[in-house]
């Protein structure tokens, strides 16, 4: 790893410039900062910060929280076996694996389906509050938290895929049949919404209020 030499301790915004999010070209925007600017190299629309990032991220997180409830309460699969019907929620699936001794699988599902989405939502709420209230706590750690939400996000989809595979394979009429439950859809919505929320949040806002402190 080579650390890039620093030209300054100043952000592009404070220097009157914009870095193109698409091709990384730094464009001088001093003259018309508020006008509709396009990157001279790749033609992308230039924004110094993502538009309405805070409000949009809040909206996506609140929507994700709303869906998080039915995702955990409603059944995710319904197993029909020899005339008997049994519905499973995400948590009852975890408990089933624990009771049958598959601790590793129980842990994977619990972390991916219950812990990660909630942790992601809490981190983003913290970052939003931090940006809105100018919290000065360790910006580098905040940046790491943000990167974490980006990396772990998609792994929550694992339960949706398990349902897909079970539904596709176990289709033997009376002997055994598995149907997807409504929670699968709510759960997928939570994953997509939190992924969108992480992409809508602008991590540069974390540093904007710390510029003078440096």
């Amino acid at each position: 790893m080579a650390s890039a030499k620093q030209a300054s301790r100043i952000s592009a915004l404070n220097a009157g410039m914009i870095g193109c999010h698409s091709c990384d070209l730094v464009v001088n925007a001093k003259d018309d900062f508020h006008h509709h600017l396009q990157c001279p190299r790749c033609g992308a629309n230039l924004h110094s910060r993502k538009l309405n990032s805070v409000a949009r991220t809040w909206a996506l997180i609140i929507a994700a929280l709303v869906f998080y409830v039915p995702a955990n309460v409603l059944p995710i699969t319904t197993v029909v076996s020899l005339g008997k019907e049994q519905s499973d929620t995400i948590m009852s699936g975890v408990i089933y694996f624990m009771q049958s001794g598959s601790w590793a699988i129980a842990l994977v599902i619990f972390v991916a389906s219950v812990f990660v989405p909630l942790m992601k939502i809490l981190i983003l709420v913290f970052l939003l509050v931090s940006v809105q209230r100018n919290i000065q706590w360790r910006p580098r750690e905040q940046a790491k938290l943000y990167r974490l939400t980006e990396i772990v996000g998609k792994w929550s989809m694992v339960d949706v895929y398990v349902v897909t595979i079970l539904v596709a394979l176990v289709n033997l009429g009376v002997i055994a049949d598995i149907d997807a439950g409504p929670a699968a859809l709510y759960f997928a919505a939570v994953v997509v919404l939190t992924m969108l929320a992480a992409r809508t949040f602008d991590p540069r806002l974390i540093w904007d209020s710390k510029e003078e402190v440096e």
């Binding site: 790893m1 080579a2 650390s3 890039a4 030499k5 620093q6 030209a7 300054s8 100043i10 952000s11 592009a12 915004l13 220097a15 914009i18 870095g19 999010h21 698409s22 091709c23 990384d24 070209l25 730094v26 190299r41 790749c42 992308a44 110094s48 694996f97 598959s102 699988i105 994977v108 599902i109 910006p139 940046a143 790491k144 990167r147 792994w155 989809m157 694992v158 949706v160 895929y161 398990v162 897909t164 595979i165 079970l166 539904v167 596709a168 394979l169 176990v170 289709n171 033997l172 002997i175 149907d179 997807a180 699968a184 997928a188 997509v192 992409r199 991590p203 540069r204 540093w207 904007d208």
Partner: protein, 203 residues
């Protein structure tokens, strides 16, 4: 010497061109990766994309798991998995599975070939900024490695109910995950934009 603004914290920094091969330059303030130096980026990306295309076809043509109980057997491919959700009326979920496990990896491979094949022969494909932006956006929605974990969980869940036979597609998945991860890090964005600069007659 050109400037670069960190895309995660907006700090202005000088771009140092002489970083060693296979290394990356990181932001001095927040630690984000600014850019990488990848030797033979174009050849590497094309080779990996072609390997990816072959593995992708295998992963989709062959079943990944077969399930057998008291003489009756079913098997599933990626498409039939998404299709069975669709047949149960879960079309939104079917669409999501299709996009994240079939559409996104395929688009990722095709866009890499579209961008880097012409570059290899010194030409610039049309609409390259749009193609490149799409490539970056699509990579985030490629979730085959998560699907792979889903297969492993299902295996454990189903072995108690019936005989499970891993299919050929399972090994293709593993290969595809490795190849696409390597391909994503082989892309040297700056190379593309410098070619664009030359063509625009600037610099």
């Amino acid at each position: 010497m050109s400037l670069i603004a960190c895309h995660e914290c907006d700090l202005l920094q000088k771009r140092t061109d002489e970083i060693p091969p296979h290394s990356k330059a990181v932001c001095g303030r927040c630690g984000a990766v600014l850019y990488r130096h990848i030797p033979d980026s174009i050849d590497r990306t094309i080779a990996l994309a072609i390997a990816g295309l072959v593995l992708f076809i295998c992963a989709n043509v062959f079943p990944f798991l077969a399930f057998e109980v008291s003489g009756q057997a079913t098997q599933s491919t990626l498409i039939s998995g998404a299709a069975s959700l669709y047949l149960q009326g879960m079309w939104a979920l079917a669409f999501l599975v299709f996009v994240t496990c079939i559409g996104a990896p395929l688009m990722q491979i095709l866009l890499m070939l579209y961008i880097f094949m012409p570059l290899k022969f010194g030409r610039l494909p049309a609409h390259i900024p749009l193609a490149f932006r799409s490539l970056r956006e699509i990579q985030a929605w490629n979730m085959i490695e998560v699907f792979m974990l889903g297969i492993l969980v299902s295996l454990v869940k189903l072995t108690k109910m019936a005989t499970i036979i891993p299919g050929l597609a399972l090994w293709s998945f593993v290969g595809l995950i490795v190849v696409l991860t390597a391909a994503a890090t082989a892309v040297d964005a700056e190379l593309v934009w410098q070619k664009l600069d030359c063509n625009n007659g600037k610099r």
